[in-house]
Amino acid sequence: MRIPPGVSQSDFAAAIAEFEKVVGKQWVFTGDEDLDLYRDAYSPFLNEPEERVASAAVAPDAVEAVQQIVRIANRYRVPLYAISTGKNLGYGGSAPAYSGCVVVDLKRMNRVLEVNEANAYALVEPGVSYFDLYRHIQERKLKVWIDCPDPGWGSVVGNAIDRGGGYTAANYRNHFDSHCGMEVVLPNGELLRTGMGAIPSAETWQQYKSGCGPWIDGIFSQSNFGIVTKMGFWLMPQPEAYMRCTVSLPRYRDLAPMVETLNYLENARITSGFPDIASPLIGYPPIGQIQLWNESGPPKMSDEHRKLLASVSLGYSSELEAFGLKSQIPYWQLWLSFHGPMEVIEAQWQAAQRHFSRIDGAKFNVVDRVQLPLDPAKVENFHEPEFGIPSLRAFSIGARSPWNPTPSKGHMWFSPIIPRTGAAIIEANRVFSQAARDLDMPLFRTFTLPACFWERSFIFILATPVTEDPATNKRYREGFKKLIEIGGHHGWGEYRTAPVFQKAVMDVYSFNNHVLRRFHETLKDAIDPNGVLSPGRYDIWPRHLRGQP
């Protein structure tokens, strides 16, 4: 049996026996084969001694059991690590931040407690996946949409408290922002409800977020101050229609006004769907088309075009631009989407065109006009998550194909937040492409475009491969940490990261001598004095473990 560090064998055996009494022997796992299921498939320490692994796992099916598990852990000082379904691959998976923790696996708590169609919200347990919630809604023919990430296999609660994002309308894409009300088991085993849930008779727990007094929901995300056992979410009323359009721009210098115009249109709610920036001239696909590119290959490119691309700097050369103008291949292409009554979204598209027309040479195209719901037979013609439909097609992206002859074993997402300007896109390319060259990391081809999950910032996402060679992985890990540091010098910090890099990322959030970290630690000491809940998550360590790498 594996033993958590600092816990005696007899105490651990006693704790395990008590866990078994709470959940039943079949839901406590201590054997190596069972615990292998909790390894991070994309661990940057794949098959190395430093890989973070669990000592045991326990799978409760009710909040009362979670409370008892936490109390037992306090009695024996056994560190726990709570997961919902553990599917956030690239950001840590189901492996603990601190090796030796007992994973509290919440996937058996998989009840959809309520979906309210009339006021468009849901209340779910942490084991409910996007597929589960989608199925629940479809089976009852409820006219609401979920917003899911891609792939949509993970937990609705887990993704939100990890601050993941999706692809429908702006006010639903930020999954933590679109939550409303939480139930949390505190480190002493007490049960807390936030917002209106703090009033025992309230019917508005999922209708008004903040209740009265300090709004504390944020401290239970990317943290270790409690185990979230229920969470409410606002859902999107099923729109009547959907329209997807492109704005094509001919010149490199059009990037800045394109972003500026997009920002206005999105912040003014003139465009609602996921904006997707591509470059046909550079050969950079919109996120919504990556799967199609991977399945059937990217658009054909002439030899002249390919040759010109090989000599660009930061995605630019005057020769490439001239070639694009001559061949009518846009430098930039912004994919916009609209949800709502057809007459409304047609008017929104007209307004969007009027704003983009200020950029010389802008061209417009309607790709799809669709009455909703989608015809099931045609769903696969679209990027399903943009319709709130969970999918697993993203996995085709990593498949070996003529366009991807040497797929990696996995990846670590490097995903700093950068300003939402054209200048920031170019600056991030300059800084990180130079760093990638210096560090000999395979992160860049010609130019990278950011993702537009959030309304007022970009995420500049780069996938760092995980390989089967420990020496290569070591080099990439060190390079990844260097990228974090370099980003920090420019004011760019990760929005989310795997446990291995959480210290490095939080080091960057250093204002006023790391007062943010010190505040987190003060909270941790106050509410979890034994340090049993998820030690080390987002670099928040209990007092007795501070100074961990």
């Binding site: 084969e33 969970p390 697993l392 070996r400």
Partner: protein, 98 residues
Amino acid sequence: MQTVVFDARFPVARTYGAAARRKGQTLLAIRGDVTALWRDELLPRWRAGAANTLGMTTEPSFFCLQQLAKDHWLRVLEYRAVQDDQRLVSWVIGGADA
């Protein structure tokens, strides 16, 4: 009865599927994407504690199913590269007692 998954885009996998059919095994075809296979076929079987699932697919399709099988505490019992087509792997997923 065992369930057999094969990626119908690949001749070697189709041959594998045909052999499984002759043995009377339940045959499920995919073309890369495992969404419908998992949602409509494997998930209900796995929830019901079905016997082993066998397959010949691409590595990403296998990987995706492997991760989803963990939700039911199922694991990979066998895994090997397919000699006749390096884009494919063959595998068996099942429970500890299988």
